[in-house]
């Protein structure tokens, strides 16, 4: 088991390295960062001074190495535009994005699991059709459009919910719903398909042959086997939510990582962009590792291969 974890950690570290290196190098394609910072109309001497101050005149590999070294200690440098430590900015905003992401996943699972199981247990029934309709609709829905509609309907017309800012929990209701709908279809499909497969499996037939009732069969036999793919997909979806978060945070004016990345990219604020990419990659890698471990706990056959 430890051998497996070590291999995964090594491969994870390598992935993070490659991703951060790629981001780093793209930043340098954006044109001379010294000009971006100093402003287009600065004199050549000013630009040269900026270049020297930030160390842009050194080879790229050296700059990367230095950045990486500092990043490992939690120092992501200073933002070009905000004059703050990037680490501080991230620390302030991460909780909001994470909170939103978790709330969205919980929201999505709370709908997907009961609905998916019920749909699978009664194929072609009303519940099943509803589940299919919901998953198909959810997959086709542009998240940002849903967010706008929510704003118009609940925010402007009914005036039930606040539409921007992040001070109270009420501010998070609509963003959670919008983002939750982004994650819902995949989870619903997996639950429904997984339960259908499990109910058709040979071991369920054996359980029936023993005289077990449908409830015990569903919960003890079928669901335990559905959990396995569901956990993996949930972890991956959590990682993907970060992408959707950018748009939602923008629309609802939430001060999370997503909104920050939008601003920073627009302004070519490299330290922030590089830091965020690194954080996101680390998160993704951690989440897949957690998913793998969870799978191993749930499925004894996987432990065998370790």
């Amino acid at each position: 088991m430890t051998g497996f974890i070590i291999k995964r950690l090594v491969s994870a570290a390598l992935t993070i390295l490659v991703v951060s290196a790629l981001t780093f190098s793209i930043a340098f394609l954006a044109g001379d960062p010294a000009i971006a910072i100093a402003g287009k109309d600065s004199s050549a001497a000013d630009i040269a001074r900026v270049r020297e101050h930030y160390g842009f005149d050194r080879p790229v590999a050296v700059q990367y190495g230095e950045w990486l070294g500092k990043a490992l200690t939690g120092d992501f440098g200073q933002s070009y535009h905000y004059q703050q430590s990037v680490a501080d900015m991230l620390a302030a905003r991460l909780p909001i994005t994470l909170g939103l992401g978790l709330a969205a996943i919980v929201f999505a699972l709370a709908i997907a699991v009961p609905l998916g199981v019920a749909a699978a247990a009664r194929p072609a029934s009303l519940v099943d059709r509803m589940a299919l309709a919901l998953s198909v609709l959810g997959q086709a829905m542009p998240t940002f459009w849903l967010a706008l509609l929510l704003v118009v309907f609940f925010g402007l017309n009914l005036r039930w919910l606040p539409i921007s800012g992040n001070t109270t929990w009420k501010h998070f209701i609509m963003p959670t719903i919008a983002l939750g709908f982004f994650a819902l279809p995949a989870l619903l499909r997996i639950t429904r398909a997984g339960t259908i497969d499990a109910l058709r499996a040979d071991y369920v037939r054996t359980a029936r042959a023993k005289g077990l009732g449908p409830a015990k069969i569903l919960f003890r036999h079928a669901l335990r086997n559905v959990m396995i793919p569901l956990v993996s997909i949930s972890a991956v979806q959590l990682g993907a939510l970060l992408s959707g978060s950018i748009v939602v945070e923008q629309i609802f004016a939430l001060q999370g990582i997503g909104a920050l990345s939008y601003d920073a990219t627009l302004r070519a604020d490299l330290p922030i962009v590089q830091a965020i990419t690194l954080i996101v990659a680390v998160f993704y890698v951690l989440l897949t590792l957690v998913a793998d471990i969870a799978n191993a706990i749930l499925d004894p056959r996987i432990r065998e291969n370790w």
Binding site: V19, G31, W145, S243, I246, T265, L266, V280, Y284
Partner: protein, 295 residues
């Protein structure tokens, strides 16, 4: 006795694919709708009542039919620059479909190739390619797309290229799995024992047997690509003014949100229906082709 190698039609036991498509309502309706949209896109210049780029600042923000102050000259009203909304909606079909097809083509090509090579050769090759796939998955698409756009400038081309170069992961993963299953079958061994080269085996023995899977993923990814482009354009990182993209129209509509909410209904609904039709069609196709993960 001589035998001609003319391709006589095979006596299939099940009705042909086209017949099955037509007889399944979900697939035929969504397929028909898609065909309709395709026609609209192709015939846009003939169908749109006005030039989508023609501005008339004296006739800004006229509401569509059903609202007070509706002007009969513009059925669906005008946007913030006085451009006819209906015409822009019609032309928006072109952008979305163009994005959909070209991104899926590029991503499909890359992903299918990677998937087949990883799935067929296995071993070290597979490990390396899986690492590549995992690295790609660790990169947030949206963030990376924005970054690339900032570097290379925002345009239709850069959007297509970026999305195409990012959205191949699902192709690769699914094709890899399908290839592994096909390659485990004896007829591949038979081909090897006859002396076929690996290239020939991949293209003539394996590819025809995974094509249905590729088609299904292609339809699903097409929907994803269209939504992603819309979101990017919405944030200003995709297609730029004055091109008529539904995402861009929504971004402008957002500025008018407090006053003229109707601006957001139409382009969003257009996106929803297009992607919905694509997904329903793809799902239906998958059921017909029996390509669900090879049960």
């Amino acid at each position: 006795m001589s035998v001609s190698s003319k391709q006589a039609p095979a006596a299939a036991q099940r009705p042909g694919l086209m017949r099955r498509i037509v007889s399944t309502p979900a697939v035929s309706i969504s397929g028909g709708f898609l065909l309709l949209l395709l026609l609209i896109a192709l015939l846009a210049p003939l169908l749109a009542p006005y030039d989508p780029y023609a501005q008339d600042l004296s006739r800004r923000l006229l509401p569509p039919i059903g609202y007070p102050n509706h002007d009969a000259a513009h059925l669906l009203g005008t946007d913030g620059f006085g451009r006819d909304y209906l015409s822009r909606l019609v032309y928006g079909t072109r952008i979305s479909l163009l994005i959909g097809f070209s991104v899926v083509f590029i991503a499909g090509l890359i992903g299918t190739t990677i998937g087949m090579i990883a799935g067929y050769f296995g071993g070290k090759v597979d490990q390396v390619l899986m690492f590549v796939i995992n690295t790609r998955l660790a990169m947030p698409v949206f963030l990376a797309a924005m970054a690339v756009v900032v570097v290379f400038g925002a345009s239709l081309t850069s959007t297509v290229l970026t999305l195409g170069l990012f959205l191949w992961d699902r192709f690769a993963v699914v094709v890899r799995s399908a290839t592994q299953q096909v390659a485990a079958q004896d007829f591949v061994l038979a081909a090897q024992s006859i002396g076929f080269s690996n290239t020939r085996i991949i293209f003539k023995e394996i590819l025809p047997n995974i094509l249905s899977v590729v088609v299904v993923i292609a339809t699903l990814e097409m929907g994803s690509a269209i939504l992603l482009e819309a979101a990017l354009s919405f944030l200003g990182f995709g297609v730029q003014e004055p091109t008529a993209s539904w995402g861009l129209m929504l971004s402008q509509a957002r500025e008018q949100l407090f006053f003229d909410a109707w601006l957001i209904y139409l382009p969003g609904f257009a996106l929803l229906s297009l992607v919905l039709a694509i997904n329903v069609f793809g799902d239906g196709l998958r059921d017909l082709l029996g390509a669900r993960g090879r049960a």
